[in-house]
């Protein structure tokens, strides 16, 4: 089945969902990800999926809850404002430990904002935009190929930990076309049995209950301890990142998703100029690769975080670096994409400074 195709990120993601054995999609149109529901409305339905365009994102996420609780591989997708509407539902899903896939094709906010690509929802995705102590597992693709690949991985991880997984992309990754190869994947080999699912109780077992309500605080704390233990396992096993020319780097760029693509270009350009610049690209945003940052902080002399927001992941980088070397930030907001040249400029500045002690945060003005 593996074949190369040229597709938009949104379409590749949708195609991968069908191939990953996704049984149900529930969503509501929103730019720049409407291609997901449109592709599935045609292809998915023809290939046996339940594909519903429903009355709102609120309804969609709660249908995901119901269908995931009934043991099906299911997903939804949206973009920033729509994801905000799902926050209550996500907190419920996380607490009830239901595996499912949520896709956020991030656009520029806050508010109605713009439809251009952004990374302004990093905090919401990684720290928990909903209430209470929970975590999504967050995968950040940086290519159309990964838009597809992370669907399989996302579903598998979701099932492994019974936890919602979010693919945090952005408008550009959704809209751009690249080559994509769909790998061999037999859903039946990957989807584990779900004895906890509510599929109708046979006389041979107790009834199954999907709930997030534990009225006694002691019980609720036990539930939370269980969740935290799970997150600990996730932190131990699922951290992923990519290093580019980091071995001899003096200045380390840290960026994910689209901005990591731009930073790769920056590394190329800088190396052409003989500047030892490297890149750390976190692939999982939760769990975050703090350790590698700690490790690298022994070797590098400074860090520049590049984001398409006002500085969100930079906090995680600072937590990882823990004061060892200065951490600078360069960001563009509201749907503007930083160019490799402007980042390079910033990097050169860093090399130029005699004292690299403290690089201030800076917003493009």
């Amino acid at each position: 089945m593996s074949e190369t195709r040229l597709m938009k990120g949104n379409e590749a993601l949708a195609e991968a969902a069908i191939r990953a054995g996704c049984k149900g999609y529930f969503g509501y149109p929103i730019t720049p990800q409407s291609e997901v529901v449109e592709y599935l409305a045609e292809e998915g339905r023809q290939r046996g999926m339940v594909v519903m365009q429903v009355e709102s994102e609120l309804a969609a996420i709660n249908m995901v809850y119901g269908a995931a609780g009934a043991g099906a591989r299911v997903m939804t997708s949206s973009s920033s404002p729509g994801i905000s509407l799902m926050q209550e539902g996500l907190s419920y899903i996380a607490c009830a430990e239901l595996p499912c896939l949520i896709v956020n094709v991030n656009r520029g906010g806050p508010g109605l904002g713009t439809i251009q690509p952004s990374q302004g929802d990093y905090f919401q995705a990684t720290k928990g935009g909903g209430h209470g102590d929970y975590h999504l597992i967050v995968l950040a693709p940086a290519s159309v190929q990964e838009m597809a690949d992370f669907v399989y991985d996302g579903f598998d991880i979701a099932d492994k930990y019974r936890n919602p997984v979010m693919i945090l992309a952005d408008g550009a990754l959704g809209q751009m076309m690249e080559k994509v190869v769909f790998k061999e994947y037999t859903p039946a080999e990957h989807i584990p049995p779900k004895p906890w699912a509510t599929v109708g109780k046979p006389p041979t077992r107790e009834r199954n209950i999907i709930t997030s309500l534990f009225i006694q605080p002691e019980k609720m704390e036990t539930i939370n301890i269980g969740l935290q233990a799970k997150y600990q396992r996730v932190r131990e096993n699922e951290i992923r990142y990519e290093l580019v020319e980091a071995d001899d780097a003096e200045v380390l760029l840290v960026a994910y998703g689209l901005s990591s693509r731009i930073c790769k270009k920056v590394v190329e350009l800088a190396r052409q100029q003989g500047l030892p610049v490297g890149l750390l690209r976190p692939i999982t945003l939760y769990p975050y690769p703090y350790e590698i940052l700690q490790e690298l902080s022994e070797r590098i002399s400074s860090v520049l975080v590049v984001e398409m927001n006002s500085g969100q992941m930079v906090e995680d980088v600072r937590l990882g670096i823990n004061g060892k070397v200065p951490v600078g930030f360069y960001g563009r907001m509201g749907g503007v994409i930083p160019s490799a040249e402007e980042v390079l400029h910033k990097v050169i500045e860093m090399f130029d400074r005699v004292e690299l002690k403290h690089v201030e945060e800076e917003y493009h003005a």
Binding site: I30, L112, I115
Partner: protein
């Protein structure tokens, strides 16, 4: 020339050539131009001087680009004046093919949000 009781002024720079006024005009006074305006549309023009000033075209015009005038009624009676409608920019055939039209439509329109 027939008795002219009204006329229309069309802002041809902002007309989007939707043709709804053409449809709405009971006098068949309006047609679309062959030429396109700066925003890419075949705009509406008055092609006959039989306009009655009935306002129909203005009412249905989505872009509010039509202004309608009528002869001033003095002493309770309409005073009929000389024709004043000017047919501009229309040289040949007036009707344009839908094919071209729908193409030009793509250059303006909805905003995705």
């Amino acid at each position: 020339m027939a008795s002219v009781r009204g006329t229309v002024k069309i802002n041809i720079q902002t007309c989007k050539g939707c043709e709804l006024c053409v449809e709405a005009c009971p006098q068949e006074s309006l047609k679309l131009s062959k030429e396109i305006n700066a925003i890419g549309y075949h705009y509406a023009v008055l092609v006959q001087d039989n306009c009655t000033g009935c306002v129909n075209c203005a009412l249905v015009c989505p872009d509010a680009v039509i202004t309608v005038y009528r002869s001033i009624k003095k002493g309770g009676k309409r005073e009929l004046k000389e024709p004043i409608a000017t047919i501009t920019h229309v040289s040949r055939d007036i009707k344009v093919s839908i094919d071209t039209l729908s193409q030009s439509q793509q250059s303006i329109g909805r905003v995705d949000i």
